[in-house]
Symmetry: C2
Subunit: 333 residues, 2 copies
């Protein structure tokens, strides 16, 4: 099968760029120093590639991701880096064929874990992002409470998501150090072998954690491309021009195939005007020609995670050759 024969919009993974990204990360953070976040790709086939590069523990955002990885044989060490109180989903994770650790940040989440057969937890610590996680000074007390209920507390996690994209590298380093001071203070009270933090924007500046939770590095997007990272854009939407005139053209990606929370996607050589449900309207930049109906155009998503979740499958490609088809099989909750 050739790329130009695929019906569109089609999600493409560039085999060489993906391999470059996985190898580059594995060189800096080998083996268990990286716990790849599967929420960025929701694809067990891609997770298997990450395991082939030495990373056999995974970070997950949903119980579905945990259970799906476990069922496909990738359950060596799965972390739900998120809170849930859902008894059915906690039970499904507890029964999954793998080692499962869940994040807790409150008495309620500890109760739910205990009640539904979860054996191991991490204390989720707020290090500045206003989202989940207990205050650092409460982490030790929560760990004691969890252990008193029979849970194994493996350590702490604290995601500095508010510091992922800071273009001033020195300021980012300073801010991340302050956030990690909070996490290590909590770890001193909690104990355990795991100190988990970080993401694609900060993976290279962590020297006090045991593992980094990066996910976007594998496929990248225009948002992370603002930073001087060594990773290449590895996913695209193959689209077809369906309408064109002397001023603009329209291709068949849109709000139903692109995550839009980081704004419009990009098209090399063109300016994107706006997106509709099934349309991207774009115009030439720097004298490029307007493509006629039927031409193919590659659209570069602004945010990888919510883009991938809109697709049933990805085509792994090299140039115009389709090498493989990977189901996006970890969608849903």
């Amino acid at each position: 099968v050739r790329v130009h024969d695929l019906s569109t919009p089609a999600l493409l993974f560039d085999a060489d760029a993906l391999e470059h990204n996985l190898a580059t990360m594995a060189a800096v953070r080998p083996g268990p120093a990286l716990r790849p976040h599967v929420k960025a790709h929701k694809c067990t086939a891609l997770a298997r590639e990450q395991a082939r590069h030495g990373h056999t523990g995974f970070t997950c955002a949903t119980p579905r991701e945990v259970v799906g990885l476990a069922e496909t044989g990738l359950g060596d060490d799965l972390l739900l880096a998120n809170e849930t109180l859902d008894p059915h989903r906690l039970r499904a994770m507890a029964d999954a064929p793998g080692r499962v650790t869940v994040a807790v940040d409150s008495a309620d989440t500890i109760d739910a874990a205990v009640a539904n057969g979860i054996a191991e937890v991490l204390i989720d610590v707020n290090v500045g992002l206003p989202r989940c996680g207990c205050p650092p000074q409460e982490a030790g007390r929560l760990a004691d409470a969890a252990r008193a209920r029979g849970l194994v507390v493996r350590g702490v996690m604290g995601y500095e998501g508010h510091l992922m994209v800071i273009e001033d590298a020195e300021r980012q380093r300073t801010e991340v150090a302050k956030a990690m001071d909070l996490l290590l203070q909590a770890h001193a009270d909690v104990g355990g072998d795991v100190v988990s933090a970080g993401g694609t924007g900060t993976y290279a500046i962590h020297d006090r954690v045991t593992e980094v939770q990066a996910g976007s590095y594998a496929l990248m997007d225009t948002y992370y491309a603002k930073l001087p990272l060594p990773f290449r854009q590895a996913h695209f939407l193959e689209t077809t021009v369906i309408s064109a005139n002397n001023e603009w053209a329209v291709c068949d990606a849109g709000l139903k195939s692109l995550g839009m929370d980081h704004g419009n996607p990009a098209i090399d050589g063109y300016v994107v005007w706006f997106c509709s449900d099934e349309h991207v309207t774009f115009a030439p930049a720097e004298g490029s020609a307007i493509p006629p109906p039927g031409d193919r155009v590659k659209v570069i998503p602004a945010h990888v995670d919510p883009t991938i979740t809109l697709h049933e499958r990805a085509y792994v490609v090299r140039g115009d050759d389709v090498l493989d088809t990977w189901p996006i099989d970890l969608r849903g909750w």
Copy 2:
């Protein structure tokens, strides 16, 4: 089944609000005066309710929507109000068990329709939105070309999407009239029985078209709620609070369950701070209490179409009772 027993995030359709919306629209634009746009809900069960209210012709944005409706017995009169050059998908629509009309706006789209067995077309006319559609003065020439190739040309369509949400009603009426002047000029050159335009924001001010293509009216969203429309919010995300403190709480909707191109969703009585992949962080407004972990919160999406496409099913509810489960079965392309 009760709503509070559903795993979350769960897409809810409020049965009474939906019925109100369908009845209200059918009273103003009965029978064929409305061609409901199924891209807003992608749900054959909801389309069947629209048919029960008298609307048996449907507007579609994708071949998948056309073929899916036809296969479920709702194929009386299906319009693909969008261009495609995909031979497989054109052929699938031509072979579907229903009457299928596709939009064309160029020699290329006419060629593709002819080559793949499509019998009937509409000429798509640009009435001001920079997207698909031929210039009004070229519509007659395209219709002649289509007829010369053996196609039946049923008339014209022209979507004034740039005029849907204008809060000054008088200005909206004036601008829509100018757009419809262009469409009627094209129709005079094209002929045929169909003049199709409009949407939820303009459904009540069209007096020169034969049908309106509204879709969002059935389920609504916070974007259309800015207008003084008689429709009620009829879809919500049922979510669970997974983390809370003295300043904010976090529930388990997010970028993977909400269309974000119109910005953050709303929560009655609260201010939404931001959304992450699987989180909405929100804080109290006007003295409302911060809900503890385990509480349920209803999230109101900002844009219905890209929200619905993220869900496998919707639960039809009245209060806390789940009356039915409807698959979102027209997703994909």
